[in-house]
């Protein structure tokens, strides 16, 4: 492990986490990226900005989310004591809203009149459409045509919330193409428009600001675990697509050296197949969507379409800070397959009465692998970052059940 005094100092002035991150965008966007950076610097040092976020968090999102002792899951696994950080109880059903609230308030500070966003599973799209409805700004959501088919309920929710959902038929018709299309919109409407990115990715300063907005998860978890157990957890586990829920949980703990941290990528059919979405396990460094990070790519540097049963993890890259944390060895990146996630999904539903989203079902699959061999006083905190209502159709199909 590389020896550093703190793992929480990044990014540097140019937005780099080690060799990762940066600002790899078209010149048209550079002035607005620099404006955003300035607005972000001002906002994060302004106590009234944080106070406004706190107010929304309490009264609109419903924070703090509980830290829940999963007693029957713990008994079933027969080892470590398993806690869930219940971010699936947030308004709109996932952690995504922590970020969209922060960004919409930033957009308002910058006087922007139009909001765009990309979405894969639709959770970030719903969370963006929700805050746009609340502040009364027009909202355009770019979504791959394939994902629109897979996630019809979320598409309808976004439309009910007043958003325009634009089907993306370029490239492979999924999340990465939706992000390309959102960037094309931004280049075209750069003066009026604020782009709400949904994960700890994209050009600097997005990875940092999304992390800051999501870190409320880890800050609460730390406090709640101290209250419940009188000490910090021994192990943190979270799933990773772009990595925003994981970064939100991990970041406040990065300098607590005794806390083991696991990020769980989506292994699809297996990381040794060509159908997965595990960019750290199966990718190599490259540049896409404004950042250098681990990417799934072929020998020519062309981006490979990922696969996961979870549309929210179906992305060929990962946030640059995760790429750095992998390289310096602070966080262990592992993977869970579609089948393992499906098993965890069903087990959690039956044992705890909680239907998890397929995304955190990947995290739970890893908990199921490690908990049995750990002592009973070992504390695991897993981020239950979304609820599974949106996934029941996909799960039914995977299990061969006709609804």
């Amino acid at each position: 492990m590389e020896s550093v005094n703190t793992y929480r100092a990044g990014p540097d002035e140019e937005g780099h986490f080690g060799m990762f991150g940066g600002r790899y965008v078209a010149e048209t966007l550079m002035p607005i990226i620099l404006d955003l950076e300035q607005a972000w610097k001002d906002a994060k040092n302004d106590p009234s900005f944080q106070a406004e976020i706190d107010h929304w968090a309490k009264h609109y999102i419903g924070r703090p989310s509980p830290l829940y002792y999963a007693e029957r899951m713990t008994e079933h696994l027969g080892g470590a004591k398993v806690y869930f950080k219940r971010d699936e109880l947030n308004h709109t059903g996932a952690h995504k809203i922590n970020n969209t609230v922060g960004q919409i308030l930033l957009a308002k500070r910058m006087g922007k009149k139009r909001i765009i966003a990309e979405t894969g599973a639709g959770q970030h799209g719903v969370a963006t459409a929700t805050v746009c409805a609340k502040v009364g700004l027009p909202c355009i959501i770019y979504m791959g045509a394939k994902d629109i088919e897979r996630q019809a309920p979320n598409v309808f929710r976004m439309k009910l919330l007043g958003a325009e959902v634009v089907p993306v038929t370029s490239g492979s018709h999924t999340l990465k193409d939706a992000m390309n299309e959102a960037l094309r919109d931004w280049v075209t409407n750069v003066e009026s428009t604020f782009y709400i990115i949904g994960t700890v990715g994209g050009p600097h300063p997005y990875p940092e600001l999304v992390r800051v907005f999501q870190s409320v998860i880890g800050r609460e978890a730390k406090e709640q675990m101290l209250e419940a157990e009188g000490r910090l957890p021994d192990t943190l586990v979270a799933c990773i697509g772009g990595g925003s829920n994981a970064m939100g949980l991990f970041h406040p703990f990065l300098d607590d050296k005794d806390v083991n941290i696991y990020g769980v990528e989506a292994a699809g059919f297996g990381v040794d197949t060509d159908k997965h979405a595990a960019s750290i396990a199966g990718g190599r460094p490259g540049v896409l969507h404004g950042m250098r990070t681990y990417l799934l790519q072929d020998d020519d540097g062309q981006i490979i379409e990922p696969h996961s049963i979870s549309a929210g993890l179906d992305y060929p890259g990962i946030g640059p800070e995760h790429a750095w944390l992998a390289d310096v060895g602070r966080v262990n990146y592992v993977a869970a397959t579609d089948d393992e996630a499906l098993e965890a999904f069903q087990l959690c539903t039956r044992l705890e009465g909680i239907i998890p989203a397929l995304e955190p079902a990947h995290a739970l699959a890893h908990v199921m692998k490690i908990a049995p061999d750990l002592p009973r006083d070992h504390l695991i905190c897993m981020n239950m970052c979304g609820r599974g209502d949106k996934d029941v159709f996909a799960v039914a199909e995977a299990l061969g059940v006709k609804l």
């Binding site: 140019e14 940066g22 600002r23 790899y24 965008v25 078209a26 010149e27 048209t28 966007l29 550079m30 002035p31 607005i32 370029s170 490239g171 990465k176 193409d177 390309n180 960037l183 094309r184 280049v187 075209t188 409407n189 750069v190 003066e191 460094p285 490259g286 540049v287 896409l288 969507h289 404004g290 990417l295 790519q297 020998d299 020519d300 540097g301 062309q302 981006i303």
Partner: protein
């Protein structure tokens, strides 16, 4: 740095008192062999600078026409190595026409920056336009490219204000590519008068020639730009000409080549007669 083919070509255009035509075609579209014929034919059609697009799966700054052109090329097995082969092939018959490669950074990064710069130079490439490498990332590829004797062509846009301009012009060489609209390739066209004013603003800050692109489709539009700038860049319509001449199975035909070259002749005619 020493003169490049680009410097020499723009000096010659100044001597002739006319603007140049920069033609963008996607490398390997509709397939490698037909793409070779297109590139080889461009100088004879009156094109002054050849810009070859390096296909990429995720071309964030391009409109639908160039996106599908890149996908066609990739489906036929196009790679960055083969794009360099296109240039090598051209150099067998033409040693004067400047060639600029335009595209996105990841395929180059994947190839290896040093190896790419060496191979590009050896193949006969003269300059690079890398859309997603702004001046903030100059140490990455721009400075090494200049050291390797290649021109680094920077994009300036309507959002490039006076504060931003020094950063944009800092390491620019060869020419400056003024993107006349905020938007993607193939979108609407800009008002020639506004373009003329923007070119004058740039000229007040740099001695480099100014080429103007995005949204130029017809010989008349090219001529309008040729009256106010040092060159007009045309791209999307060439990709469209390829697209319109595919066979029923989506494969390239000789008509793709003929159509692109005929269009190039018309556009060159427009540009050459603009100031007379």
């Amino acid at each position: 740095m020493s003169d490049t083919r680009i410097d020499r070509r723009f000096a010659a255009l100044r001597e002739e008192g006319r603007a140049g035509l920069v033609a963008f075609v996607t490398g390997g579209d509709p397939d490698f062999d037909l793409s070779c014929q297109i590139v080889d034919g461009l100088p004879g059609a009156g094109v002054d600078v050849i810009e070859i697009g390096m296909p990429f799966t995720d071309p964030m700054a391009d409109g639908p026409t160039i996106q599908v052109a890149s996908q066609r090329a990739l489906r036929k097995g196009m790679t960055l190595r083969k794009t360099l082969d296109l240039v090598r092939h051209l150099r067998q018959s033409d040693s004067d026409t400047p060639v600029v490669l335009m595209g996105y950074y990841n395929p180059i990064y994947s190839y290896g920056n040093d190896a790419f710069l060496r191979d590009a130079r050896e193949a006969g490439v003269d300059g690079l336009i890398i859309v997603d490498l702004p001046s903030e990332e100059d140490s990455e590829l721009c400075v090494p490219a200049l050291d390797a004797g290649l021109n680094w062509i920077r994009l300036a846009t309507p959002t490039t204000d006076a504060k931003r301009l020094p950063a944009v012009l800092g390491n620019a060489s060869g020419f400056v590519y003024y993107v006349s609209i905020t938007g993607i390739t193939g979108a609407g066209s800009a008002d020639p008068r506004a373009v003329g004013e923007a070119v004058q603003r740039l000229k007040a800050r740099t001695d480099l020639p100014i080429a103007v692109g995005f949204g130029i489709r017809t010989p008349d539009q090219a001529a309008d730009i040729a009256r106010v700038a040092d060159a007009a860049v045309v791209g999307t319509v060439f990709c469209k000409a390829v697209e319109d001449n595919l066979d029923a199975d989506g494969n390239g035909t000789q008509a793709c080549v003929d159509s692109v070259l005929s269009l190039a002749r018309d556009l060159a005619h427009g540009v050459r007669n603009a100031r007379s």
